[in-house]
């Protein structure tokens, strides 16, 4: 600890030290109280002269001790602060702009520490805080926008917010932030200083934002200590292994980083040292690696840098397929290279090609078999080929020579006899061009060059399903590439030859692109879906630190071409199996070496490690300890006199004990207040219990409480579910995650939830919670619910079918009985991740009124219109509901019960 690091907030208070000598004299000359001794013979002393000047003084140690106590108190009054960071001198609120776009992830601990330091200081200076973040977030159904500026809030609230803040794997939106700040006029009036935690990477709109802010208040830029930016820009396969391009800022010195390649299990396959050139902002590196290991690489990252930019994921296209070209055993390799030249050139960068007779290829377990014209050697291998296709193989066929007739089997479509010529010398028709790929085609989105012409083609019979099977067609609508699934396998037919006599397609770049899309479709391990999708649903998405997560509902499916990562399409894996596409952040990052030019008045600072510590509490504590020590010493010194005159010192002892005990009790209490909520949470977690949402209407709350109490009691009587008494919860403050079922009565004029509460409820629903929303008035229309609960992610609701598990999880019921028996709405498509259990149930049957037990009913909530039978049915529904909430779809599995019983009987 460096003494120079201590500053005093109120240094004037230190002047009080000047009175210390006087206090010293006072303490010194005021000795402790005399001992009281009963001594009758002391009357002998009467009239004896005592030497007043030789009066006993307080002992030196006591004087020093008491002066120390005083010094500590003076110090505490002067508010000493260790490592004070004077971020801003001005008065007024602080606007903190927290960078949380992709570039912040690398230095996130720094940013966090910096934010906490700032907030700490604001707490000491008693300033309020505005908080803005730079990364946009998904909002509503499709749009994205920046979160609102939070504020003015106290330091404590800001701290809580900071804890929830995390970096996003996409770009910041500075222009929008600029608008946002401009809109907040009241904020502009109250802020005295702006603290912007960001690095010096230039970004569109950043300098403008800085200029705008500069007009508002003085800006201080807090940048992290480490300022290195690295992104993996590309990752490509080549014949010898893989090539990686890194983009980074120019350092003064060459830096060494370590690349880590991981497989789908996350274990490291490869560590590779790369030296980043000091002079350039790009570094290329080649890694020699066998093909099968390269195949299993799932992602490449940089060691020690956990950011989305330094994670490059590979999709299905990454994996190299084994392609076998079927040749007859008599063909010589020289001839082959001639015939299959273009095919070879198109495929070989991305796959291994083997030329062999069919029998050998089938033995070698190829992923894709290519045949031009008739499949040679089919006769003996017919059954084997059939089995191979059925098991997931992909057979790609081309037209052969004009003279040879292609056989009927292993074709996606029925072919007409003969073929069609255009543009030849014997034809009046012009050579045909390609139409754009339909969106049902895997080639959707590939640009078609003008120069592609087709002279001859095989003609397909116009079967009813021909359109669905066609992946590419000519301008006249006749199919050029057709495909049909066979069980888990697939047969693809190019209606032209793989060499350049029927068309110039094989010679074109388009052919390469077509193969690039075609190859991953043959998934060697997974079963390809029979249906191909063009809109790729998210499979896993990366957060700002490059860690994979389950996608949530805000993330939209991906369509070609790949977009820049944004809140709706964060980096990650989209699409399943053979269609899996990796959306990476790195390729979209360029020019990481750009440095922003801040306005001249901007103050630049580095974030330091040293958080400021308020030493006043420490001083007070020290003073208290010394005081206790003083008391203890007094007791010790007067030990003898306790025996002499017991009564007085017993009193002193008791007083001292009370003081010490009281002090410690206060300290413990002070510590307890911090953990009081933790105790409540613990209590809630200890036993399962139902909960109801607190409304602002006390009568409704009482109704909910007694209703749930009644249901809990019924459950205890009739089932094994012994729940604790129901809790009232408030999503604004309470943790919802402990409650299996939350009952939510809607009331008129309900206040909309804050963003935090909405996020809480959304998280609760997303993680398997269940909410029963009760409109209490028999009217249950999802549209109404949606209007009421804007901002909550209420899934699409549907009427509960009569055979829903909810109606047979304990009792067999036909309606969601409550006070009424109107239909119940619940998730139309419950998330499979949640085991198909609905998370939102919505109805209007006023269940709480019907669940009340007789003893809970009073004049206030008397509901005379509920007959005993109705009540019984309502209880049954309640039991079913809780069973559903507690056991999920378990009861649905009872369809297997006969099989299980049979097995048991055996």
């Amino acid at each position: 600890m460096n003494l120079a690091a201590i500053t005093f907030l109120y240094p004037a208070m230190l002047a009080a030290v000047l009175v210390l000598p006087i206090v010293w004299l006072i303490i010194r000359s005021a000795p402790h109280s005399p001992k009281q001794i009963v001594f009758p013979a002391a009357r002998l002393l009467r009239g004896l002269r005592t030497n007043r000047r030789d009066m006993q003084r307080a002992p030196l140690w006591q004087t020093i001790l008491r002066c120390l106590i005083l010094i500590m108190l003076i110090l505490a009054a002067a508010r000493p602060v260790l490592n004070r960071n004077e971020f801003s001198q001005n008065d007024g609120a602080v606007l903190i702009i927290a960078e949380n776009s992709w570039s912040s992830a690398a230095n996130w601990p720094d940013y966090r520490a910096g934010l906490h330091e700032i907030i700490n200081q604001a707490r000491l200076d008693l300033r309020s805080i505005y908080l803005a973040q730079t990364a946009p977030e998904p909002a509503g159904a499709t749009i994205t926008r920046l979160p609102d500026i939070i504020g003015p809030v106290s330091a404590h609230q800001a701290d809580r917010f900071i804890d929830r803040l995390h970096p996003r794997p996409w770009a910041p939106d500075y222009p929008q932030l600029s608008n946002l700040i401009a809109d907040q006029q009241h904020m502009a009036n109250s802020i005295g200083s702006i603290l912007w935690l960001t690095d010096d990477l230039d970004y569109p709109g950043k300098a403008e934002l800085a200029n705008d802010l500069d007009a508002l208040a003085p800006i201080t830029i807090l940048s992290p200590k480490r300022n290195s930016r690295i992104a993996i820009q590309s990752l490509v396969r080549n014949r010898t292994g893989l090539g990686i391009t890194l983009t980074h800022d120019r350092g003064k010195l060459a830096r060494d980083i370590i690349l880590l390649a991981r497989n789908d299990q996350g274990s490291v396959l490869l560590r590779h040292n790369v030296t980043l050139a000091a002079t350039s902002d790009h570094t290329d590196t080649e890694i020699l690696l066998p093909g099968d290991i390269t195949n299993s690489i799932q992602s490449v990252g940089v060691e020690g840098m956990e950011t989305a930019a330094t994670v490059f994921q590979t999709g299905a296209r990454w994996q190299q397929r084994k392609v076998g070209v079927i040749v007859s055993s008599g063909d010589s390799p020289v001839l082959l290279s001639d015939r299959y030249f273009f095919l070879d050139r198109a495929i070989s960068p991305y796959a291994d090609i083997t030329y062999a007779p069919l029998g050998r290829l089938l033995e070698d377990k190829m992923d894709i078999l290519v045949a031009a014209g008739p499949i040679s050697g089919l006769g003996s291998q017919y059954a084997a080929l059939e089995r191979w296709v059925q098991d997931g193989g992909m057979l790609v066929r081309f037209a052969g020579d004009a003279t040879t007739e292609i056989e009927r089997d292993f074709l996606p479509v029925t072919l007409r006899l003969g073929n069609r010529d255009f543009g030849g010398s014997m034809s009046w028709e012009k050579p045909k061009h390609l139409l754009n790929f339909p969106d049902s085609s895997p080639f959707y989105g590939i640009q078609i060059p003008e120069e592609i012409t087709i002279n001859r083609q095989l003609l397909a019979e116009p079967d009813p399903d021909i359109v669905a099977k066609t992946w590419a067609r000519l301008t006249d609508g006749t199919p050029l590439i057709t495909s049909a699934p066979r069980n888990t396998g697939r047969v693809v037919l190019f209606h032209v030859t793989p060499w350049a006599d029927w068309s110039n397609l094989p010679m074109s770049g388009l052919f390469v692109e077509i193969w690039q899309r075609l190859l991953p479709l043959a998934s060697p391990s997974d079963r390809p879906e029979a249906e191909l999708q063009t809109s790729l649903p998210p499979q896993s998405v990366l957060d700002g630190f490059g860690r994979a997560h389950q996608p949530d509902a805000t993330i939209l499916p991906l369509r070609a071409p790949l977009p820049v990562p944004n809140p709706r399409h964060p980096p990650g894996i989209y699409g399943e199996n053979g269609q899996a596409v990796a959306l990476n952040l790195g390729p979209f990052l360029d020019n990481l070496d750009s440095h922003i030019r801040w306005p001249g008045t901007t103050a630049l600072r580095k974030i330091t490690d040293y958080d400021q510590i308020d030493l006043a509490a420490l001083c007070l504590l020290a003073a208290l300890m010394l005081l206790v020590l003083d008391g203890a010493a007094l007791i010790f010194v007067h030990h003898v006199s306790i025996r002499r005159s017991r009564r007085h010192n017993a009193l002193t002892t008791i007083l001292m004990a009370v003081m010490v005990g009281g002090t410690s009790a206060i300290m413990i209490l002070a510590a307890m207040t911090g953990t009081a909520s933790a105790v409540e949470i613990q209590a809630a977690a200890l036993q399962p219990r139902l909960a109801y949402l607190k409304t602002d209407v006390a009568a409704i709350d009482r109704l909910s409480k007694s209703g749930l109490a009644g249901l809990t009691e019924i459950l205890r009587r009739r089932s094994a579910a012994d729940l604790a008494p129901a809790d009232a919860i408030d999503p604004e403050s309470d943790d919802l995650s402990f409650y299996p079922l939350i009952y939510w009565p809607l009331v008129d004029g309900q206040q909309p939830f804050s963003a935090y509460a909405q996020a809480q409820i959304n998280r609760y629903l997303d993680s398997g919670g269940m909410i029963l929303i009760d409109s209490r008035d028999q009217e249950a229309e999802p549209a109404r619910l949606r209007r009421l609960l804007a901002g909550l992610e209420i899934p699409i609701l549907d009427r509960a079918p009569g055979d829903h598990i909810l109606f047979r999880s304990f009792y067999l019921l036909d309606h969601p009985y409550g006070r009424f028996a109107s239909p119940l709405w619940l998730d139309a498509r419950p998330d499979q991740r949640l085991d198909g259990v609905a998370s939102v149930l919505f109805g209007g049957n006023d269940w709480a009124s019907a669940w009340m037990l007789d003893e809970g009913r009073n004049s206030e909530n008397r509901t005379d219109d509920i007959s005993p039978r109705q009540r019984e049915m309502a209880w049954r529904f309640g039991v079913n509901l809780v069973m559903y909430a507690l056991t999920g779809s378990y009861k649905g599995d009872q369809v297997h019960l006969p099989a299980i019983l049979e097995r048991l009987a055996r």
Partner: protein, 318 residues
Amino acid sequence: MALAAVHDHVAAARALAAKLPQLIDESRRMAMSLRSGLHGNRKVGPGSDFWQFRPYVTGDPANQIDWRRSARGDHTFIRQTEWQASHNYWIWPVFSPSMYWSSKRGIPTKATCTLIIAIALADLLLHNGETVGTFDAERTRITSAEHLEKLAHAMLASPATIADQVGTMHAGRKHSVLVLSDFLEFADSSQSQSPSRAIKTLGQYQNDGALVHVLDPAEIAPPFSGRINFLDTDDQMIFRSERFEDLEEGFKQRAQVWRASVRDAARENDWLYDRYITSESASPTLLALYQHLSERQSQAGSNGRGRPITNRRSKTGA
């Protein structure tokens, strides 16, 4: 418990009375051990029974001549009677409030020690057939050891100050008077009460007697130091000392003067003075008292007044 009683001497006296059976027991044990060391008093003394004739020597009172025996011979004989226990003893333990105080937990209060000595002495005397009384309101006198408890209660009820009450004490002629006290009421030099006058009053009818000065060890050498408020047993402030170390010498000197004044009062009246310190054994004091009282009685028949016995302890105490 003795400590607890300090602040209320009535309660202290009651507590002492409650302990009386044990104290009497203790006293009897002490008296027994003393008695076994002495032998029966088969010797000449005051009494009615004939004991012996002895030849007349000049100076013997003429009324003691046994003329019938003298007539039988040439010599004149004096008739002597056996010493008979018809003598009266007054034992007065003065239980002033300060008597119920002791300086340390382990040391019995002065009152306890005083009562033990008083009862032990009474027991001894009663076994010799003497009459023992005390100066309570009824002037209780007993002649049998069976009534010791009654006597003890009477002792506790006897006056608690000497100077104020001594005028009402009227011991009979030639009765022996024994005063046991800490004589702290004579400690205050400011008050003009002197012990010698009180003793003179007590001994006005040719009374023989003894003063036993009961002292706590702290009253001889006070073990205190530092800043002390000295309180009386009734929590009244007596003296405020800033540094007791400075006062210690003065205290010792004054204590010596005070003790000497009590001793001198005894000497002036030819009484025995003995000092008893509560931390020490009571037996020597008791023995000295007993011997003094019994021997003086034997001499009392001849010349009535004798010199006080100076035993070991009175020599050192002076």
